[in-house]
C-alpha cells in the first residue's frame, strides 16, 4: 500500500510521473470541496487544476512532518478564498453577479438519491463562505480544529465559534 509521503519522496527524486497517483487519489475530494465552495463547475475545475499545479511545483517546500492532505487542502483553500474575494469585489463593483439566478445543477444533485442528504447539501450551499469552509474541512474532510485554523489562517477560537454557529444554523434549517 502506497503512502503519500513515499510518493512525495519519489517525486522529489525526479519521478514526476508519480504525481499522477496523488492526482488520482485526491482529485474527487478536492474537486468536491472546491465545487461546494464556489458552486460553479467550471470555476471548480480551474481552481482544482491550479491547486494541483501549485502543489506539484512547490512539492519541495512540503514539510514531511505534516499531512500531505492538509497541505493540499491548504493550497486549494487559499486559491478558493482568493477567487471568492476577487469575485466578491467584481460583483460589488459591477453590481452584477453573473452567477446569480444561474441554477447550481451540479453532479451533486444527480448523484444524491437521499432527500435528507440533498437538503443538507442545499443548506450547506446557503451558508456564508467562511462557515461553509469550516464545516466542510472539519466534518467532511475530518480535520482537527487546529488544522482548519492553520489552513484558514484564523485563530482557533474564531474557528470554534464559526463552527458552532454553522452547526446551529444547519441544524435549525434542517429541522424546518
Amino acid at each position: 500500500m502506497k503512502e503519500d509521503i513515499n510518493v512525495i519522496k519519489e517525486i522529489r527524486n525526479g519521478k514526476k510521473n508519480e504525481f499522477a497517483w496523488i492526482v488520482k487519489k485526491y482529485e474527487d475530494r478536492l474537486y468536491s470541496f472546491v465545487l461546494r465552495m464556489v458552486r460553479n463547475e467550471e470555476d471548480a475545475l480551474d481552481l482544482t487544476q491550479e491547486s494541483f499545479i501549485k502543489a506539484f511545483s512547490s512539492v519541495d517546500k512540503f514539510d514531511e512532518r505534516y499531512s500531505f492532505k492538509n497541505w493540499l487542502f491548504t493550497i486549494a483553500s487559499h486559491h478558493t478564498i482568493d477567487f471568492l474575494r476577487k469575485k466578491g469585489k467584481i460583483s460589488e463593483s459591477q453590481l452584477v453577479d453573473k452567477d446569480i439566478g444561474k441554477p447550481f445543477i451540479s453532479h451533486i444533485d444527480r448523484i444524491i438519491a437521499d432527500e435528507r442528504t440533498k437538503k443538507l447539501e442545499h443548506e450547506i450551499e446557503q451558508l456564508p463562505e467562511n462557515y461553509r469552509m469550516v464545516i466542510l474541512l472539519k466534518y467532511k474532510e475530518e480535520m482537527k480544529i487546529e488544522d482548519v485554523a492553520k489552513i484558514m489562517e484564523i485563530p482557533v477560537g474564531t474557528i470554534k465559534v464559526w463552527l458552532h454557529r454553522a452547526r446551529a444554523q444547519l441544524k435549525k434549517r434542517m429541522a424546518k
Binding site: 475545475l45 487544476q49 443538507l120 466534518y139 444547519l170
Partner: protein
Amino acid sequence: MREKLKRKQKEIIKNDKEDFEFMTMLNELPDVRAPRKLKKELYRELGIFYFPLHKRILSLVGLFIFTGAMYLFVQRLFHKFAGNFSLEALLKYMSLVYEKLLQFISVIKAGRHLQDVLFAFTNPWMLFGFSFVCSILILVFLGLMKERIQKETILVKLR
C-alpha cells in the same frame, strides 16, 4: 428535582444523538467525480506521462491479439509456399525483382527527361530555335547521305 434532572439528561442524550447523526451525515456527503478533462489537462500542463491501468490492459490485450493473428497468418503463408521453396528459385526471383526495379527506375529517369523537353517546348522561342536547329541538322544529314550514296555509286562503278 430528580425528575428535572432526568429530563435534562434525556435532553442532553437526545441532543448528542442528533449531533452525532448530523456529523455522520456531513461526513458521508458524497464526493463529486471530477471531470475527465481535469486529469487530461493537468497531465498535459505538468508534462506527466500517465498510462491508466485499463488502457494498459487494453493495449496488452490488443497486442496479444495482433501477435496471435500475425503468427497464424505467417504460419499459413509458410505452409502454402513451403512446398515450392528452393534457394535457387528464390535467388532467381530476387534477381528478377531487382531487374524489374532497375527498369522501373530507368523509366522514371526517362520520364523526367521527357518532362524537361516538354517544359522546353512551352517556350515558343525555344521551340522555334529547336525547329531551326533540327531542320539544319536534317539538311546536313540529308546532304551527307546523298554524298555517301554518290561515293558508293562511284566505288561500285570503279569495281
